[in-house]
């Protein structure tokens, strides 16, 4: 039996903020258990501060859980074996403005262990998939927000990951860019990649995901499958509103 793409088991994450006398603690996620299967598109919904970004960072090894266990393809997120299979798009990624997209991708490709012809092919393929090819001659400083987001996706795709973790992938984009990115994600999923995306846009998650996790104040309130929200009157939006109220 193959390991799930992501597995959370009783996970808690508490942030410690040092103060003049002692420290202040804030629990961002608590008693969190869920699984994401390989090849599945899972959405993550929640209000601001619900713990969505914390979950993404726990999966990518940027944060360590305070309690419980996180596994990515059966490995700890800090292990090379896990990281090699994950592509991460953080919210509003930054790239050096003076360089061209291929140069930025070359750096991240090298960090993913690519080199030589394999690296060149990966850059070409990522730029083609994300529609950046016509803009290859521009500097990143000339890029619009939508193009930056495409570049963010391109860097996440370089090493052909089995799991894409996307934090607000369509945040602030115009309708055409949203349409293109949605089509791109659907295409990546059809190649067998699991996608885990967080968003404030219920309609976007509804269009892409086969299952949605709704977070409320750091806890998993509801897990809804496509069949459930399609059968429910008011759809996913009503389920979400009822869960967070």
């Amino acid at each position: 039996m193959t390991a799930p793409a992501v597995s959370f088991s009783g996970v808690e994450k508490t942030y410690k903020r040092p103060r003049l006398l002692g420290a202040e603690y804030h629990t961002a996620v608590k008693e969190l258990s869920f699984e994401i299967q390989a090849g599945e598109v899972t959405g993550l919904l929640g209000l601001n501060g619900a713990g969505k970004t914390t979950i993404m960072k726990l999966i990518t090894g940027l944060l360590f859980p305070t309690a419980g266990k996180v596994r990515v393809f059966g490995h700890s997120p800090s292990e090379v074996a896990a990281k090699a299979r994950v592509g991460f798009l953080p919210e509003l990624p930054y790239f050096p403005p003076q360089v061209k997209p291929a140069a930025a991708l070359e750096y991240y490709g090298r960090l993913s262990g690519l080199s030589g012809a394999e690296l060149s092919l990966a850059i070409e393929s990522s730029m083609r998939k994300t529609g950046l090819e016509p803009h290859a001659g521009k500097r990143i400083s000339e890029f619009s927000k939508g193009m930056l987001q495409r570049l963010g996706l391109a860097q996440a795709l370089l090493h052909k990951p089995d799991l894409l973790v996307l934090d607000e992938p369509v945040s602030g984009l115009d309708p055409l860019a949203i349409h293109d990115i949605r089509a791109l994600l659907a295409g990546l999923n059809s190649e067998g990649r699991a996608i885990f995306l967080s968003s404030h846009s219920i309609s976007e998650v509804e269009k892409l995901a086969s299952r949605v996790l709704i977070m409320v104040r750091g806890a998993l309130a509801v897990t809804v499958s496509r069949a459930q929200w399609e059968a429910a009157p008011g759809g996913l939006e009503k389920i979400f509103v009822e869960a967070v109220k």
Binding site: V86, P90, P93, Q98, L111
Partner: protein, 253 residues
């Protein structure tokens, strides 16, 4: 995957980013102005012009390179965390030691380039005034580079627990200043009685003796920078690197 290739990728990227940054050009222009302005001090020195120009220029080179390097080292990791660039690095199979080694190497490469550029400016001034290459010139630059290596590594370490780039800059500058008074401090501590003497002697181990790297002080010796200087630099860089790595490996982003 070869981790050394990762170190090289991070180092070259850091080097390229540093050189592209406008501060590199600004510091180079400042150094050019300061080095060439030292011609006034040389003229006032009359028959000691060659010595004054050489000493003054080398001191300016060291101070400018120090300011540039500490500035770069203080903000190197902080900037990557603020811009979230570090997310794209640490979500990949990049060991934290490789990232730290790459960043440190990139910063030192830039400091080395800055030293070479300023050295070339200085030598061109000396040539313009009709003077040749001063003895121990290369050793002096090498000594300055070793001092920079120590302070830059220390700044990386401090930047991982300090609250801002400014506090890292201040702490590292204090360390650099203290390091130039290590012999004087040792002389005074040796005269302290009892437990005070022991306590202050222990504290002295926390300050690098940067006087070891003043190559011109050692004029007449077989080699301006002896094994003690090289060993001291290696030990301080290694200790700061390990301290920084210990902090970085526990750091969350």
């Amino acid at each position: 995957m070869n981790n050394l290739l990762l170190v090289r990728a991070v180092a070259f990227n850091a080097f390229a980013e540093n050189v592209r940054n406008r501060f590199f050009t600004l510091f180079a222009v400042f150094a050019f102005t300061a080095v060439y302005a030292s011609v006034l001090a040389g003229v006032m020195a009359v028959d000691q012009e060659a010595r004054v120009l050489a000493d003054f220029g080398l001191a300016l080179i060291e101070l400018t390179a120090l300011a540039y390097s500490i500035f770069g080292a203080s903000s190197a990791l902080l900037k990557e965390a603020e811009t979230k660039t570090i997310y794209l690095v640490f979500s990949r199979p990049v060991p934290r030691w490789a990232y730290l080694a790459g960043k440190l190497s990139g910063t030192l490469l830039t400091a080395g380039l800055m030293l070479l550029i300023m050295g070339a400016m200085h030598l061109s001034l000396l040539a313009m005034r009709g003077f040749g290459l001063p003895p121990f010139y290369a050793w002096a630059l090498a000594g300055t580079f070793l001092k920079l290596s120590i302070i830059v590594s220390f700044a990386f370490f401090v930047s991982l627990f300090s609250t801002s780039a400014v506090s890292t800059l201040v702490i590292s500058s204090i360390m650099w200043t203290l390091g130039h008074f290590a012999s004087e401090a040792r002389y005074m501590v040796e005269r302290l009685p009892g437990i005070k003497g022991i306590a202050f002697s222990a504290l002295l181990w926390l300050i690098p003796n940067l006087q070891l790297f003043n190559a011109r002080d050692a004029a007449g010796a077989a080699a301006a920078l002896g094994p003690a200087a090289l060993f001291s630099a290696a030990a301080w860089v290694a200790a700061s690197f390990l301290g920084a790595l210990w902090l970085l490996s526990r750091k969350e982003f």
